[in-house]
């Protein structure tokens, strides 16, 4: 089975290598094809990783010739496999979607750069998820930040430059904090491998309480900035709203998820429960998550720009994930990871459909989307499905998350947290439904709209449809997925 262990590393290598082949290819069509083929191969590889993990539960791939704790290793368990497959799937679909229309949105000579950046981005995100070496993950985070900034700035409009600047500055702050946190850990333990740090920390916790608390805070805030934890989210709406459609989908769908996975690993695998339960960090994360759930939705409600609205909804959804972490019990953590999956698929679906509205109508305002359901019925149907999942209609993934999150909250012993979850889902209704209703119904809305007049060819909608099908599958198949994720949870 050693051969299969190769695939995790190989997928990253292939992405990195193809990323640098792109700029020298002449024709745009060929670039697209190469990119799609690579993505397909990577997807297959990560599926193999998942199959592999399903067999052996957990494995370590040593990169280079030194074993942990000195060499860099990839520790791959169910969580990493699931998230990896999600990342590959979403980016494959986004690249597929982008292959039809990205040249309309950005300058012709930047198309190659776009694919290079997406490849680099995916490679670094996978790296963040897979690696068990803290410094290695920092390097990957930086690569992902730069690639993500590139994906926003690629559109060259003033608001893009502004948004990228904001993102870059805040991200650099975050990276600085993370690196300092790593330095603290290294000075305390002398290791960079997560497992080794964990083992050393458990014995050397006495006398190091303050240093541990400081480093924990640094990690939480640093990664919180990158993952748009509520009060640190200010960069997100600008960045995700101004970026070209496929970029937004990938940014909202997966880029903000990787730091979350890293935060999860740092909190629960590096520090571990023994340390966390004596600190206030989890409570802080819980509070930030809960505020994010409510405030994100409230902000989303008042937006007039459709894309900004969806971006703010991301803030709220990230709140769910942090909420799950903050609960700190097994179910809460499991569901936080599951929500990464759910939200990744749903939000990329939403962003892609929104970007095709914008592409076909040339309008961004929510008010201008009236009657869009007659002009683009299938796209709005996909948007509606995503919206329903966010709202929490049973069997869609959003519902599964909400339900289990609520159970975890009961388990945690705070009933009032339930009210926050339910209030947040009601708020979701209040901003997703008007769009759907005004899109499909109402005489005044449908007047003068010609049936299917602005629809994209079905061939171009295939990736969107696949994404939504996957979303439904994740919802209906939540049982085994949850069990699998739960099997990897660190024991409490």
């Amino acid at each position: 089975m050693q051969g299969l262990h190769l695939t995790s590393l190989l997928s990253i290598l292939i992405l990195m290598i193809t990323a640098f082949i792109m700029p020298v290819i002449k024709q745009r069509q060929l670039v697209t094809k190469v990119s799609l083929a690579t993505m397909g191969v990577v997807l297959v590889m990560l599926a193999l990783v998942a199959v592999d993990v399903a067999k052996v539960e957990h494995y370590t791939a040593t990169i280079g010739h030194y074993d942990a704790p000195f060499g860099i290793t990839f520790d791959i368990g169910p969580i990493e496999a699931v998230v990896g497959v999600l990342f590959a799937f979403v980016s494959t679909m986004v690249v597929w979607y982008a292959s039809f229309g990205i040249h309309k949105e950005i300058k012709e000579n930047r198309v190659k750069l776009f694919y290079t950046l997406i490849h680099l981005l995916l490679a670094s995100l996978l790296g963040i998820v897979f690696t068990s070496d803290l410094f290695n993950s920092f390097v990957f985070i930086e690569v992902s930040t730069l690639a993500a900034c590139g994906l926003i700035a690629i559109k060259d409009k003033p608001e893009n430059i502004k948004a990228t600047m904001k993102y870059l500055i805040l991200s650099s702050l975050g990276s600085g904090l993370v690196l300092m946190g790593i330095a603290y850990l290294y000075s305390m333990t002398g290791h960079l491998n997560m497992r080794a740090i964990h083992e050393t920390l458990q014995v050397s916790v006495v006398g190091n309480e303050r240093a541990i608390l400081v480093s924990l805070t640094m990690f939480t805030i640093g990664l919180g900035i990158k993952a748009a934890m509520f009060p640190l989210h200010v960069w997100l709406p600008d960045a995700h709203a101004s970026a070209p459609g496929p970029s937004s989908a990938i940014l909202s769908g997966i880029v903000i998820k990787a730091p979350v996975v890293l935060l999860f690993k740092v909190l629960f695998m590096v520090y571990g429960h023994e340390i966390l339960k004596d600190t206030v960090i989890l409570n802080l994360i819980l509070i930030f998550g809960a505020t994010g759930m409510i405030m994100g939705s409230l902000f989303a409600r008042v937006q007039t720009d459709l894309k900004r609205m969806v971006a703010y909804s991301s803030v709220a959804q990230m709140g769910y994930i942090f909420f799950g972490f903050g609960l700190g019990n097994a179910l809460g953590m499991t569901i936080a990871i599951y929500h990464i999956l759910a939200h990744g698929l749903t939000k990329s679906c939403l962003f892609l459909s929104v970007s095709s509205f914008i592409e076909q109508t040339g309008q961004r305002e929510i008010d201008k989307m009236r009657g869009i359901g007659r002009e683009m019925p299938i796209t709005l149907a996909i948007f509606s499905l995503g919206g329903l999942s966010m709202v929490g209609i049973p069997m869609l993934p959003g519902f599964v998350s909400k339900w289990n999150l609520a159970l975890a909250a009961i388990d945690y012993g705070q009933i009032f947290l339930l009210l926050i979850i339910l209030a947040s889902s009601l708020l979701n209704v209040s901003y997703y439904f008007p769009i759907i209703i005004n899109g499909y119904f109402g005489n005044a809305n449908l007047e003068g709209k010609i049936y299917k007049s602005k629809m994209k060819p079905v061939r171009e909608l295939v990736p969107l449809i696949l994404l939504s099908i996957m979303m439904v599958i994740v919802g209906f198949g939540s049982g085994p997925i949850l069990d699998w994720i739960a099997s990897a949870m660190p024991s409490l």
């Binding site: 050693q2 262990h5 190769l6 590393l9 290598l13 290598i17 040593t62």
Partner: protein, 139 residues
């Protein structure tokens, strides 16, 4: 900003810097130095050259496109050479040999020498390109 003083100093300095940069790259694994340091010195050489000699500079004879291709080729080669070692590590096999090496004999450490040179090329080109981009004013 090019004054005769700078011009004269660079004229004397550049050849030494060129040689020094390659020295750092080639001997990196056996003494302080390495691909990145050497590459950055090399990049500094190219930038200085361009700054002083303008269109006659060594780097200016290559177009940006060509330099990019050179750097990408170096990067790819690096990727393959280093990647095989990573992959071999995963499989617990020995890839191409990486011996410890003996000081004074630059060929004695196998793969590390070409890797250092490749890194140096990539870094130098990257520095040089960034500098030209700043000079010309677009990304």
């Amino acid at each position: 900003m090019t004054t005769p003083i700078i011009r004269r100093i660079v004229e004397w300095l550049l050849p030494c810097l060129w040689i020094f940069s390659f020295y750092i790259m080639l001997f990196g694994h056996l003494s302080p130095g390495g691909g990145f340091s050497g590459g950055s010195v090399l990049g500094a050489c190219l930038i200085l050259d361009r700054h002083v000699n303008g269109a006659n500079a060594f780097g200016a004879r290559f177009t940006g496109e060509r330099l990019l291709k050179l750097a990408l080729a170096a990067l790819l080669l690096y990727g393959f050479l280093k990647g095989q070692s990573f992959l071999a590590g995963v499989l617990h096999m020995n890839g191409l040999p990486v011996p410890l090496g003996t000081p004074g004999n630059i060929l004695s450490s196998g793969l590390i020498l070409p890797l250092n040179v490749l890194v140096g090329i990539v870094v130098a080109v990257a520095f040089y390109l960034i500098a030209t981009l700043f000079e010309e004013g677009h990304l």
